[in-house]
Symmetry: C2
DNA sequence: TATTGTTATACTCTATAACTATA
DNA sequence: TATAGTTATAGAGTATAACAATA
């Protein structure tokens, strides 16, 4: 093997810490977290004919009241043309209704149908389960702290509706 | 955290926590963390003609000593055919050398070239910066704790090799 | 018979550009 | 002139199947 004991000793910033394990690098950890949570969600969402993106979009519509497709695009950093396809899919599935805005007739206001709301409730339950399983390794007392720290990282990085 | 006592019990009526903000859902947070860290890494890695995947693969080769393409496939959960393309790219760039294993002549042993090692050192520096920036919102005292909790979530979920 | 690496191929996801209708 | 939404299209990224060489 390599036995490179030239570890940086936890210091950051003073040169590249080449001996450091990939498993300890933040980008790799985040990549792993993503694999973990989306792989876990996949099956349950598929049973509702949803995936990560369509779940996010349904939840975004629920949360934002009547939102436009541009709103969703900004909300998730997804290209407007991709939003079209997603909303098409959700509309075909009978979960979402497009209504022309009376104020600005270029825009659609997106609404959940009754069935869409029902699907979303089931999806929230799936995601509650996924989240509980995801956090299970932590001591219960650590969970709020971990969530708070994660929120802190996110909040201070992006003023949410950028671009 | 939030009154989750009613969740996961399977009782009808208690139902999903529909009013909960998407921003507080773990899957969405993880999605955001990924956007954040990979968007931050993009520019710096691009200057080295790398991206997230090629950085991971280079680091995997450095760390694993002589690894095979199958090793990398298992290490990152990337399809073997995709590994071929990535190693092709890195070999063309002069960062990686394929050597037939003398023990098992079906396998390649992948090695970093001198230039590959130099590129990787620069990439590690980029990622050190990305990580420092990523964690900047946290109080310095919280950083080790946050890292430890993240590690805990990951370690207890996957027996790493997963073969 | 199984495994490592490869090619060909198809399918998904996403982005770019050009268009329409409205503002 | 600018914006919301749409379409067509092309480019990544990834997965499946079939294959050669080797075990």
């Amino acid at each position: 093997m390599d036995g490179s004991a030239a570890r940086g000793g936890g210091t950051t910033g003073a040169g590249a810490d080449t001996g450091r394990h990939l498993a300890e690098r933040t980008a790799f950890q985040v990549y792993r977290l993503g694999e973990l949570v989306f792989r876990a969600a996949e099956t349950g969402l598929a049973a509702l004919a949803l995936n990560g993106r369509t779940y996010f979009v349904l939840a975004g519509i629920e949360q934002g009241g009547p939102v436009s497709q541009q709103d969703l695009s900004r909300m998730f950093g997804i290209d407007p043309t991709t939003i079209v396809a997603i909303v098409d899919e959700l509309e075909r599935a009978g979960s979402v209704r497009r209504e022309r805005s009376t104020v600005d007739r270029r825009r659609y206001e997106l609404h959940l149908t009754r069935e869409g709301a029902r699907t979303l409730r089931a999806a929230h339950r799936v995601m509650d389960e996924v989240e509980a399983e995801f956090l299970r390794p932590l001591a219960p007392a650590d969970v709020p702290h971990y969530r708070a720290l994660t929120q802190q990282v996110l909040d201070r990085h992006r003023p949410v509706g950028r671009r």
